[in-house]
Amino acid sequence: MTDENEVMTNTSADSRKGQGGDPGAEPPASSWLGQGEAAKHRRADALFRWLATGSGIAVVSAVSLIGVFLLVQAWPSLQANNANFLFSSEFDTRDAENLRFGIRDLLVVTVMSSAFALVIAMPLALGIALFLTQYAPPAVRRPFGYIIDTLAAVPSIVYGLWGIFVLGPFLVPVALWMNRNLGWIPIFATGNVSIKGGGTIFTAGIVLAVMILPIITSVTREVFRQTPVKHIEGALALGATRWEMIRTTVLPFGRSGYIAGSMLGLGRALGETVAVLVVLRIASSPATFSIFDGGYTFASLIASAAHEFVHPLPTGAYIAAGLVLFILTFVVNAIARTIANGKMQRL
């Protein structure tokens, strides 16, 4: 205790008075704490606190302002809407005097294509992440990881072109086979566009799956890599095979990260615009909840009409659609956060 006091004493000049002769006595706080020093620390602390708080507030207000902007711009159009906004399949804004728009089909196509993308990408990403962290020899790990990451760098328009000109035609036989043999299940039934054209949710979903694969993989890979060695060794020392070790340590440890990564990917798929716009064929009838439907997602519809945003009322209809997408991604994020926080740990 005495030693500590002496060390502290040396750090501040004004503290030497009054206590040097009596090492056993408890020094008065003000003398050795150094009030001048403390005040300086407090100022730096306060400054940093305000900087941090300010950054936080800036982000929150930016998000809220976007929400407010969307709501304010969409409101007049929603008032002037002559169709049911939530349940109508129409989206007709040509006549500003008679707006008829609803988001039913947009919601269906957006959710179905993203969900389908997730169904494909999640197991694939899990497999790749496990391979890269647990099975691949070190020499393969890096180059393979780079290749996956490179997928994220490909522009989405390139994915769109690849989807409609290469992947779509290539998958037509598969799609036809599924439609023929599994058509009795509603989601594989014949949809509202030609399967042979390839411009279906089926194709778009696979394109989206490839696009969100890197983000899910890299998040998952990072959490898997951080599995504590002592747990891995604990499992191996108990006589676990490699797969059993993964099941008892790596997967439980990385589960919330994997799900959070998947939700990030889902967020990306929901908002993806150009690739989906290029791939999906325009549908002339309402969506049928089949993966062989065509049509528009929220984002692709808004992008397709961007050059017509002249009059505020028709424009507001698209902004209203954007508002719904905004809310949708918000909900997805909230779910991801809940899961990442471990509220669903016991799966």
Binding site: K230, H231, L236, A237, L238, P252
Partner: protein, 258 residues
């Protein structure tokens, strides 16, 4: 149960680096054998070759023979997974599986080995926890996570987990180095009890601990940085601590190490 271990001409490598040089020693059954020595002398590495945990590190390999009751665990026909089921291990820092309950932690090894009968698992869990002197402290919260226990309790949980599969040998890699003196004492008492049933090999930095718990002691030393560790002397613990054959052992024991 309780097999003997014979280590014959073993060299242990990390990639090209030879960590342990030409060790031959004999671990008797139902006794406690301690490995002591300064940091980096290869004692932990030596321990980890006894259940083939050494090779978990990329590039690590072992030359020579380790015989478990006469059977070479490094023979090409031997599955390391099987070796680890026979030779249990307790690590330096307690490592219960964080997502599992206390009970599930104890029976984790059995589940891996294929035991599914719930009643049987419950019985074995109780036996193992009693064996690890932990039963009375946790019997009312078996379904709570193992991570909620104190460090000493976690380490005893890990010992329970290791003995639940009824191994022939129990390896302990500095099992008390993360624990307070009272928990250490509890573990040491437990080791003395466990040696009735198991062959125990313990690595320790603490010479008093080696003197207290072990019957045989091996002193490892490393001549210099970058050189492999060597087994300097292997003898009865009493002899090592009273009248060792080697001067280096004497110096280390008496603190004149350098």
């Amino acid at each position: 149960m309780a097999k003997r271990i014979d280590v014959k001409d073993v060299n242990i490598y990390y990639g090209k680096f030879r960590a342990v040089d030409d060790v031959t020693l004999h671990v008797p059954p139902k006794q406690v054998t301690a490995f002591i020595g300064p940091s980096g002398c290869g004692k932990s590495t030596m321990l980890r070759t006894l259940n083939r945990m050494h090779e978990v590190v990329p590039g690590a390999r072992v030359e020579g023979q380790v015989l478990l009751d006469g059977e070479n665990i490094y023979a090409s026909s031997v599955d390391p997974v099987q070796v680890r089921r026979t030779v249990g291990m307790v690590f330096q820092s307690p490592n219960p599986f964080p997502t599992m309950s206390i009970r599930d932690n104890v029976v984790a090894g059995l589940k891996l080995a294929g035991t599914r009968n719930k009643k049987q698992l419950d019985e074995i869990a109780e036996q193992a926890l009693r064996g690890a002197n932990l039963w009375n402290e946790v019997k009312d919260r078996l379904s709570k996570p193992g991570g909620g226990l104190s460090g000493g309790q976690q380490q005893r949980l890990c010992i329970a987990r290791a003995i639940a599969v009824q191994p022939d040998v129990l390896l302990m890699d500095e099992p008390c180095s993360a624990l307070d003196p009272i928990s250490t004492l509890a573990i040491e008492d437990l080791i003395s009890e466990l040696k009735k049933d198991y062959t125990i090999v313990i690595v320790t930095h603490n010479m008093q601990q080696a003197a207290r718990v072990s019957d045989e002691t091996g002193f490892f030393n490393v001549p210099g940085v970058g050189e492999p560790g060597r087994l300097v002397e292997f003898n009865d613990t009493e002899k090592i601590f009273s009248n060792p054959d080697e001067q280096a052992t004497e110096d280390y024991i008496s603190g004149r190490f350098g």
